[in-house]
């Protein structure tokens, strides 16, 4: 099981500290879109709002579902596209 162990040391979403192993496990459980994964494990929900991990996770989804990236639903991007402290609205 050496390969499984090594997946655990590969960080995919840095903000939420999620590894390739955790993401692949969820894909295998049936979460087949980025937004579904985001709802269960918070990938892309951190400070960077998925700027780093979005491309990597889309690639993992494409590999494991055997589909092209452009045929997978893209995550919804909502404003604010970067986190704003609530005090800025005072």
């Amino acid at each position: 099981m050496k390969s499984d162990f090594s997946e655990e040391k590969k960080i995919v979403c840095r903000c939420e500290d999620l590894t390739a192993a955790e993401i692949i496990k969820k894909i295998k459980e049936g979460y087949h879109t980025f937004d579904e994964l985001k709802r269960v494990i918070r990938c892309g929900a951190g400070m960077c709002q998925g700027r780093t991990c979005r491309d990597l996770i889309m690639k993992l989804l494409a590999q494991h579902l055997n589909r092209r990236i452009e045929d997978l639903p893209h995550p919804t991007i909502r404003p604010p596209i970067k986190p704003i402290p609530l005090k800025s609205f005072q």
Binding site: K10, V12, P79, I81
Partner: protein, 358 residues
């Protein structure tokens, strides 16, 4: 406060677009999230190629200074350290600046937000000492910070090659550069320079893992087969304290997704980007793109795209004219010329695919 033209991103594309807007008397606001205008130009210490019209012979940061001075002399309103957090109906820009959220209305918008660095999945890729090549360039060339003692560069595109050279200039050893493809991606002239300086460029190689407990103390690299899978038994451990990723850029298109532009996936241009035509018009009337967000290229084409986008915006605001369309056609022709070389084949193929999707 209301403006005729709002430009998001003050790199080469956005700055050039602002200057064109100003030249036609358009009330323009230029917004950037960095402390100073210039985008990636501020850290580019290499000289530009091309013709005199395109600032050849100048170093990137000098081009940034020239444009910044021209903008300071113009009527363009500049806000730095400000983030556009959303674009709402009627082109209301949500703006976060000095811990305050405010809204700015515009009649037309140019999105010139540039690109983000791609990341790579490998073992221990979160250890301190793993950097994007752009980040290393910022540390060294903008802040004068020594990023490490011995570096492994990943990726042989022009950024990987140029940053390797700049690391060597700063006194950092770069014993190896690995490239997963069988051929070097960037220009021969840059590759030859670093090879002469002693960097071994290993094609068909990749990184397997970073080594170390608290920070990078080494790396394992390996040969890959034609399916890009590591060849077992070919692993080599190297002694480095810095791992630099130059594995490509992708357009920073979040605002364009959010505003509802039709998006297209074009790998040759870096991934998802807003559909646009040669005049840099997106599917949202009055909204234009320019620079890396419209497909990954470099600063010279970004500046020209900034001009093209601004002329489209001026036509939209003031009504079309023969003068504007002649000027725009001329710049589009310059762009075509710049992209006619062998090195632009991939970009040209990507743009053709984009333009062919009406």
């Amino acid at each position: 406060m209301r403006y005729q033209l709002g430009i998001v991103g003050g790199g080469p594309a956005g700055m050039m677009a602002a200057l064109i807007g100003d030249r036609f008397g358009i009330k323009t606001i230029l917004i950037d999230d960095n402390p100073a205008l210039g985008g990636q130009l501020i850290k580019q210490t290499h000289k530009f190629f091309g013709s005199k019209d395109h600032y050849c012979g100048y170093r990137g940061f000098q081009i940034g200074s020239i444009l910044r001075e021209e903008i300071a002399k113009s009527k363009v309103e500049v806000i730095t350290s400000a983030t556009v957090t959303g674009i709402y109906p009627g082109f209301i820009l949500g703006l976060h600046h000095k811990e305050r959220y405010q809204e700015v209305g515009c009649d037309a918008v140019i999105v010139a937000t540039g690109a983000k660095e791609k990341f790579l999945i490998f073992e221990n890729n979160d250890l301190p000492g793993v950097y994007g090549a752009g980040a290393v360039q910022t540390l060294m060339n903008v802040y004068g910070v020594f990023p490490g003692r011995r570096a492994l560069m990943i990726g042989s595109g022009n950024i990987g090659l140029i940053v390797t050279y700049q690391l060597l200039q700063a006194g950092v050893e770069v014993p190896f550069l690995v490239e997963i493809l069988p051929e070097i991606g960037g220009w021969f002239v840059h590759a030859a320079k670093i090879a002469r300086a002693g960097t071994r460029i290993l094609t068909s190689h990749t990184i397997i893992s970073a080594l170390g407990e608290e920070e990078v103390e080494g790396a394992v690299i390996a040969k890959v087969d034609d399916q890009f899978h590591p060849v077992s038994g070919s692993e080599v451990t190297i002694d480095v304290d810095l791992i630099c990723l130059a594995v490509g850029l992708s357009p920073l298109s979040d605002l364009l997704w959010q505003v509802g532009c039709r998006m297209e996936f074009i790998p040759e241009l870096g991934g998802y980007l807003a559909w646009h035509n040669e005049r840099m018009e997106t599917t949202v009337p009055g909204l234009y793109v320019a620079g890396d967000v419209a497909g990954i290229e470099e600063a010279t084409t970004a500046m020209l795209e900034g001009k093209v986008a601004a002329i489209s915006a001026v036509s939209h605001l003031l009504g079309p004219s023969d003068e504007l369309s002649a000027m725009q056609r001329e710049i589009i022709r310059e762009l075509d010329d710049l992209r006619s070389g062998d090195f632009s084949q991939v970009v040209s193929r990507g743009l053709r695919r984009l333009y062919d999707r009406p």
